[in-house]
């Protein structure tokens, strides 16, 4: 995966030189370890800033919304699925895009690594199988597979579903993964236990909205939490307001979420916000046989009607 960057740079350079695109959306090295930041590369010279490693977990589809330029975009499996969703939802046109597909072996979970560090992390480097973490007075070599983001561990679409050029050969897709073990566990709880579970889950939320801002689906010009006429939800730190925000945001992602993990990655408190969207994802799969972002041909379940749609809940 670390060798992809040469090919990514070569493609980006060519696209910019031939004026096939006005800009390339990719990653450059961040100012702190494990935080590569998205960047817009507009000139051939700047292509050298691009990087590719296990810290490129941010979903770049987030930066396509309503753009008018011709854009080259680097896309992992999940990014590509969100690009499909963006095209379906008319947030960008397919012919504006040159998609540089990157087969993915999973991104590193910075929360997991931070939890293992004894002091502030100064440097993180990786090979195909290991991660080297260095800080003041400590140095650790970790197994890369054990340090992946949870959504990457259970990912079944590592290869881009839509692309114009591939930066490397496709990787093997995982087949024997149980995607919804954690959701089933919550489903089995009694109503009061569920209530307590979510109370505990959200107890550290500071309502910074980082999860929303990182999410490529959250592109509304005015988010319901920012609206004050009418004010849909209280703006306080009250647990009820926090809960309302998280549940409503998740519902806005129903049938659209690709489980890219951008929300969870962005959360400064390490809250497992994916648990909300995953439940909806599971329902969509089981009730409507739908996985978001796999094809441009089919309309999503929330804007199609089928006579055999499940309606057992209507009395």
């Amino acid at each position: 995966m670390l060798t992809y960057i040469d090919k990514i740079k070569e493609i980006s350079r060519r696209l910019l030189k031939e004026s096939k695109v006005d800009l390339v959306v990719g990653f450059r090295k961040g100012t702190v370890p494990m935080m590569n930041e998205p960047c817009f590369v507009k000139t051939v010279e700047d292509v050298d800033h691009l990087v590719w490693d296990g810290n490129c977990g941010i979903n770049l589809a987030n930066y396509l919304t309503n753009r008018k330029e011709k854009i080259g975009i680097i896309a992992k499996g999940c990014d590509s699925r969100n690009i499909v969703t963006h095209i379906i939802e008319n947030k960008i046109k397919r012919d504006q895009l040159v998609i540089i597909g990157v087969p993915c072996n999973g991104m590193i979970d910075r929360h997991k690594i931070e939890a293992m560090a004894e002091s502030e992390i100064k440097e993180v480097s990786e090979t195909e199988d290991t991660i080297q973490v260095e800080g003041d007075g400590f140095e650790k070599t970790l197994d890369r597979k054990a340090m992946l983001q949870q959504n990457c561990v259970i990912c079944v679409h590592r290869n881009p579903v839509i692309y114009d050029e591939l930066a490397a050969d496709a990787v093997k897709e995982q087949t024997e993964v149980d995607r919804y073990a954690d959701v089933r566990q919550i489903e089995a709880l009694s109503p009061q236990a569920k209530w307590d579970f979510f109370e505990n889950l959200l107890s550290t939320c500071i309502r910074c909205y980082a999860c929303r801002n990182a999410c490529p689906l959250c592109y509304c010009p005015t988010c319901f939490v920012d609206e004050s006429r009418p004010q849909w939800v209280g703006k306080s730190q009250d647990p009820i307001d926090i809960r309302t925000f998280h549940f409503l945001r998740a519902y806005h992602c129903a049938g659209r979420c690709t489980d890219c993990g951008a929300c969870e990655r962005a959360c400064p408190m390490g809250i497992k916000v994916r648990l909300f969207t995953k439940k909806l994802e599971k329902d969509c799969l089981e009730l409507f046989d739908w996985e978001a972002g796999l094809t441009l041909e089919k309309r999503p379940p929330l804007d199609t009607y089928r006579p055999d749609d499940p309606d057992g809940f209507i009395k």
Binding site: P191, W195, F197, F198, D238, I240, I314, K315
Partner: protein, 49 residues
């Protein structure tokens, strides 16, 4: 999310089905009265001190 199953009800009622509407409302209110007040979704007043 922690709401008892009986507390939430979906119905399909045409604007012409006034009697069905009345029936559904009566049934649902009776059912929910039997469940008692739902205390989870109540904002508590901030404690001072």
């Amino acid at each position: 999310m922690g709401i008892e199953p009986g507390r939430l009800q979906f119905s399909w009622i045409s604007s012409a089905e006034s009697t069905k509407f009345v029936d559904v409302v009566n049934v649902v209110t009776d059912k929910i009265k039997a469940l008692g007040p739902h205390e989870n979704f109540v904002k508590r007043e901030a404690k001072v001190g």
